[in-house]
């Protein structure tokens, strides 16, 4: 027997926009029409579309894959095919082993039943035996941290509590294959961290993981490989960081609406001048922007910005802060701005912005807050946005250790 946990081979799936017949009243005329019109069966009828075209991937036991892509790219469809909720129109889907699907937390909860009753009900829906639930009951409750609310009907729960209970039940089903759809963005920060820890534990214990999320930072720490979908078609499959950067390149529109300057060349490289989009914490990045003046511009300077994906400014700097040089160009002339930064950022995706301002900062000649995506690889050494290159150790007794001791201790251990 092969050890493949998942075989997803050349899968096609089509959907219809709107309903076929909503009521029997519509069915009768439509069947009559079909009987008399003698039309040949067409592959995709007018109202149908392919939600998934020829998607394939294989996963060995213990592997993990992230499926990413914009809304409507077929991620959830893929998960539903894997969990047998949908059947493919072409191709084959094979999943070996006990499958757990976290497609929606607490989908089987009944609002009028208490937390306790819902644990049993939801457990049964997820395929657990009553005896198993009883055995794991305390662990489930402890994980959810809802001890005080167990005998309250879940309709009185907050949405966070609801999701916590849902995740706790699902997390205790010991699946061999776990399919997770965008469910980790629930609860408070503390609970999210707990969920991630649980996911990593699954992954370490040999659970095969298929993971869909828009939280790309989470995706890249949980999975090594990724499948990038766009409008139902596989665009890229392989290293997760590359996939993430390709995903973001979908959004890098040519946003050059400026009538004053035109960006003619833009390169993001590492310290050695190699073109890159994926960086490790602490790497040097160099941004090289060549722009051409379309009108006469005087005394312009350039700015670079780094923002989180949600637009929080982390950093910006301007050529005017480093040099007194400002450029005055007549129409048709070009200039180049060069920035060098050390990326002390933790694993996530950041936006690189660029702007050119005129003399008195009155208006931007050019401004695009998302000219490039910076994809940072993560390591497990730190949380947060920035990466301060931490080292740490635990020493017995009261010791006042300096940097040298720490490095020595760590060296020794390595």
């Amino acid at each position: 027997m092969s050890t493949a946990a998942i075989r997803f081979h050349n899968v096609w799936k089509k959907f219809r926009r709107g309903e076929r017949h909503d009521s029997l009243r519509d069915l009768v005329p439509s069947v009559a029409r079909r009987l008399f019109s003698r039309q040949k069966a067409v592959e995709v009828r007018p109202k149908e579309f392919w939600a998934l075209r020829d998607v394939s991937f294989d996963l060995e036991r213990g592997d993990s894959i992230a499926i990413i892509g914009p809304n409507g790219s077929g991620k959830s469809t893929t998960l539903k095919l894997l969990s047998r909720i949908l059947r493919p129109d072409r191709g084959s889907v094979q999943v070996n082993g006990r499958t757990g699907a976290l497609i929606e937390l607490g989908a089987g909860f009944h609002p009028d039943l208490t937390g306790r009753e819902n644990i049993y009900l939801n457990g049964a829906i997820l395929g657990l035996k009553r005896a198993e639930i009883t055995r794991k009951f305390d662990a489930i409750v402890a994980f959810s941290e809802l001890q005080d609310f167990l005998d309250l009907p879940v309709k009185r729960y907050s949405s966070g509590m609801y999701a916590r209970l849902g995740f706790s039940v699902a997390a205790h089903m010991e699946p061999e294959v776990l399919i997770v759809d965008e469910v980790l963005s629930v609860g408070d920060y503390h609970f999210q961290e707990k969920c991630f820890a649980k996911m990593r534990e699954f992954s370490r214990n040999g659970t095969t993981l298929v993971f869909v999320s828009h939280n790309l930072a989470a995706v890249s720490t949980l999975c090594k490989t990724a499948l990038l979908l766009k409008q139902g078609e596989p665009v890229y499959q392989g290293d997760v960081h590359t996939a993430v950067s390709k995903y973001y390149s979908f959004y890098e529109e040519n946003n050059n609406s400026s009538r004053d300057v035109e960006i003619t060349d833009m390169r993001l490289t590492d310290g050695e001048g190699r073109s890159r989009e994926v960086f490790d914490p602490g790497d040097v990045a160099i941004l090289n922007v060549t722009f051409k003046a379309l009108t006469n511009i005087s005394r312009a300077h350039a700015c670079v910005y780094i923002q989180t994906r949600d637009g929080i400014s982390l950093f910006d700097t301007a050529t005017s802060r480093h040099t007194d040089a400002r450029v005055t160009l007549s129409a048709g002339e070009s200039a180049t701005a060069v920035f060098r930064v050390r990326l002390n950022l933790r694993g996530d995706v950041f936006r690189l912005g660029f702007s050119i301002s005129s003399e008195f900062d009155e208006y931007f000649l050019y401004c695009n807050m998302s000219v490039k995506q910076l994809v940072m690889t993560g390591d497990r050494k730190a949380n947060g946005i920035v990466h301060f290159d931490p080292k740490a150790d635990l020493l017995i007794g009261k010791v006042s250790a300096g940097e040298e001791d720490l490095s020595a201790a760590l060296m020794e251990r390595a």
């Binding site: 539903k80 909720i85 089987g108 009028d112 395929g127 035996k129 009553r130």
Partner: protein, 258 residues
Amino acid sequence: MIRDFLNYRELLYALTWKEVRVRYKQSVMGFLWAIFMPVLIVSAGILMKVGFSFSTGRHIDVTDVISVSVKGVAWAFFVGAVRFGANSLIANSNLITKIYFPREILPISNVLASFFDFLVASVFIAIVMVFIRPVVSIHLLWLPLLIALLVAITASCALLLSCANLFFRDVKYIVEVVLTYGILFTPVFYSARMFGKWAPLILLNPIGAVLEAIDSVVVLHRSPDLLWFGYAAVFAVAGLIVSWAIFEKAEPMFAQEI
């Protein structure tokens, strides 16, 4: 597929239990719900009997009253189970689009939950009967088999209608109308015997055949008419097989059509 179903039998229990629990939760009547509908049907039947006795001048017969009660309770089960069963897939659309399990469990658990109500009501009737006329006979041994037929026919209706209701939303209105007037076409308030040589027409309705058989063994203390018993049995088995097969066939489309 049967094995899949058996693997999930714990889920069947859990969902049945949920249905029962939810019906009695946050309701004014609590467990009285189980006998609410039977009591209404039985009262209507007794009212009719009284009406008949006035118009014909005959005294109202206690056997008639018991007959109406027994058949009324069984009919109430059929109506309740089919009504809840037909809506079971639609009512749980969030489960159908989110989690995989054999979908048969939804209508079947609704039938079982109604069966639970039926048991409660039956115990109630049995107690009343003990007070009115405590007579039992050997023919009572037929009863479990007859109830099994009733459940099987009900389950096939629930399977078929829940499936139809998923694809065509007007099915539930048709079901409502048929269930409302069905009592007039089924020997509940009356008996097929009253139709003389036309009685078979009434008994073609398999529920009618089963109700009359139950009436025979519980109230009249005689064995059921074997011909009509056989008819109902064939109907029940074939109905269950056919409806289950159709359900299986349609199941892959549930999640995307709902």
